[in-house]
């Protein structure tokens, strides 16, 4: 039972990271972005490519004590965050920016659904459909509490997620850019009126959302595997988390992500792991029925 709880938190941490990007694009650009899943996938593949790039040095650098990776992995993670942010900006520049100028929010949703499918298949075309791994070494789970065993990688992942969420909180509340983002989410016209460069805010939204998605993708790749549909399979939990927490609210996305992770994990003994995604969906439907504004949301 406690083990399921711990597994749920690990899964929830990854869902949270992805859902933050989803909820940020929703609150600032006002549309449900179906490409978020592919940003997660893109991040994982970008890290794989970076690692392949300095394969020689990776051998010499060795690994951190207990973890399955060393410094190259962290550098690859940073590069993947940049690359995925860049990918998000490219999609915005190619498609969403143009559509926003003449079209409704819902046209963006169709376009993002199409872009998601095209990206997923482009990745499958480029890298092949077979799953890949960051490391093939077997990691021994260490007991951290009576009845709970986690691998060092998983502990590292929880730590980094907590640090990133804290950094995001600092960014949104203490920096000018973060405040500008919140102002734009609240009221774009008014934000523009007081001199906020809304286009810059939009660009930063994609960058931050894409970078966090990349982290989720790399962690998902570390703990499970890297395959072209990994992000798409995560998309429903991401949406469920964003809605449950209150769409548009980044803290809600974190809370929702953890709750969805827990719900999925705790339901496994009853419904089996095949139906994990369905559990997230049912939680989402329940939230929409009884509290459509979400746990931390203010308006419907």
């Amino acid at each position: 039972m406690l083990q399921l709880f711990a597994d749920g938190l690990i899964q929830g941490a990854m869902v949270s990271l992805g859902a933050i990007g989803l909820t940020l694009t929703y609150s600032i650009l006002r549309f449900a972005n179906f490409t978020q899943g592919e940003l997660v996938t893109g991040g994982a593949y970008a890290a794989l490519m970076a690692l392949a790039g300095f394969a020689g040095t990776a051998q010499r650098a060795g690994t951190f004590a207990g973890l399955s990776f060393g410094w190259p992995m962290l550098v690859a993670l940073l590069l993947a965050m940049l690359a995925t942010g860049g990918l998000a900006l490219t999609i915005e520049w190619l498609l969403f920016g143009r559509l926003r100028r003449h079209g409704s929010a819902i046209t963006l949703v169709i376009a993002s659904f199409g872009a998601s499918l095209a990206l997923r298949n482009l990745i499958a075309f480029g890298f092949g459909p077979q799953p890949q791994y960051f490391s093939r070494d077997l990691q021994i789970a260490i007991p951290i509490m009576p009845g709970v065993r986690l691998t060092p990688d998983q502990l590292f992942l929880v730590g980094v997620t907590a640090a990133l969420v804290a950094a995001l909180h600092f960014f949104l509340t203490r920096t000018t850019l973060g405040r500008a983002m919140r102002a734009t989410a609240e009221n774009p016209a008014l934000a523009m009126l007081i001199g906020i460069d809304v286009r810059a805010v939009v660009r930063w939204t994609w960058l931050v959302g894409g970078a966090l998605a990349a982290v989720a993708g790399v962690f998902l790749g570390l703990t499970v595997q890297v395959r072209p549909s990994m992000g798409f399979d995560l998309l429903l939990p991401l949406f469920a988390a964003a809605i449950l927490g209150g769409i548009g609210n980044p803290y809600g996305a974190v809370l929702g992500g953890l709750l969805i992770g827990l719900a999925e994990s705790l339901s496994v003994p009853w419904v089996g792991s095949e139906y994990r995604q369905a559990v997230g969906f049912l939680v989402m439907l329940a939230a929409l029925l009884w509290r459509p504004q979400g746990l931390l949301g203010e308006r419907a």
Binding site: A32, V109, G114, N121, A124, Y275, A278, M284, L285, L288
Partner: protein
């Protein structure tokens, strides 16, 4: 020569089944502005309903009712509507993105059930030996193909006729009013949530029926038939043909299905054998590009929406 005719009949049958899906989607999106990202799910529910109702009894398999095929199709119609009711009830009173996300979700859940709930759906292997209507009356496969095409075409024509009547009726005008300005429609005493739910359920019923026609046509269904790509194809058809116009939905279905078949054949001929599997991915990218281009450069589609749908109104 016979080969070409047989292929033409096959092509038109599949295109007509897609056309029925597009008509349903056009009622939801074109007429009412409802965003359904789960077309594949409603189609799948209809296909499985037909299969379960009409199939003979197999050991270890739920269903096997051996009912007549039209009853199976009726079941498909109802199953599509029921699934729509399930997602529509909680979400149709909220912002339109919630419906998009929920329909996306139900399609994935239906896919999961199809893959994993073996006693009902046959799991990944699917359901085989789905009866074809009146197959015993025909000795010649080619003639049967033409007969089935006629049946599908008749159903699509009936749906087209009924939808044209509906869109031009006062009910259809309320849908458009809600799409254009919900507050104004509500001020006139029309409940947006109720009308939306009606349009959504009706559209999904057509998708379910199309799924049933698909199941009886191929005689075999498996979860692989109901991937998100199906949703995406239906959207591309409607957007390219012209959403808001039933004729646009029909034209788009034929045009995009032709593009899809032709690009598939081309990739098959051009790519070496070891790249064939990846070529399928490229085909999907192509459709994605077509949709994005249509949205950017010709958002009203090949045939746009008519500005006036009422017989009584004049400019």
């Amino acid at each position: 020569m016979d080969g070409y005719i047989a292929y033409g009949v096959f092509f038109l049958t599949v295109a007509s089944i897609y056309a029925l899906v597009c008509l349903g989607l056009n009622l939801q999106w074109g007429a009412t502005g409802l965003f359904n990202v789960g077309v594949a799910g409603f189609f799948a529910v209809g296909a499985y309903a037909t299969a379960i109702l009409t199939c003979p009894d197999f050991p270890g398999q739920v269903g096997g009712f051996s009912l007549p095929v039209p009853v199976g199709w009726l079941g498909a119609l109802l199953a599509g509507g029921l699934a729509a009711l399930l997602v529509g009830l909680p979400t149709l009173r909220l912002r339109d993105d919630y419906l998009a996300i929920s329909t996306f979700g139900i399609a994935i859940v239906i896919q999961l059930v199809a893959l994993n709930f073996q006693p009902l759906t046959g799991g990944a292997l699917g359901i085989n030996f789905i009866p074809r209507p009146l197959a015993a009356w025909f000795s010649d496969a080619g003639r049967y193909g033409i007969f089935y095409l006629a049946v599908v075409a008749a159903i699509v024509s009936a749906a087209y006729w009924a939808l044209e009547r509906l869109v031009r009726s006062p009910w259809g005008r309320v849908l458009r009013a809600i799409r254009e300005d919900e507050a104004a429609a509500a001020a006139l005493g029309k409940s947006p949530a109720v009308f939306r739910l009606q349009a959504f359920v009706l559209g999904s019923m057509l998708m379910g029926l199309a799924g049933g026609l698909h199941a009886s046509f191929y005689g075999f269904i498996s979860p692989a038939d109901f991937q998100p790509i199906l949703t995406f194809q239906a959207w591309t058809m409607l957007v390219l043909g012209g959403s808001g116009n039933n004729r646009g939905a029909l034209v788009g279905a034929v045009a995009v299905w032709a593009l899809w078949s032709a690009s598939g054949a081309l990739l098959h001929a051009v790519l070496p054998a070891d790249l064939q599997v990846r070529g399928a991915a490229l085909q999907i990218v192509l459709i994605g590009v077509v949709l994005a281009a249509a949205l950017l450069f010709r958002p009203r589609g090949l045939i746009g929406e008519e500005p006036i749908v009422s017989r009584h109104a004049r400019l």
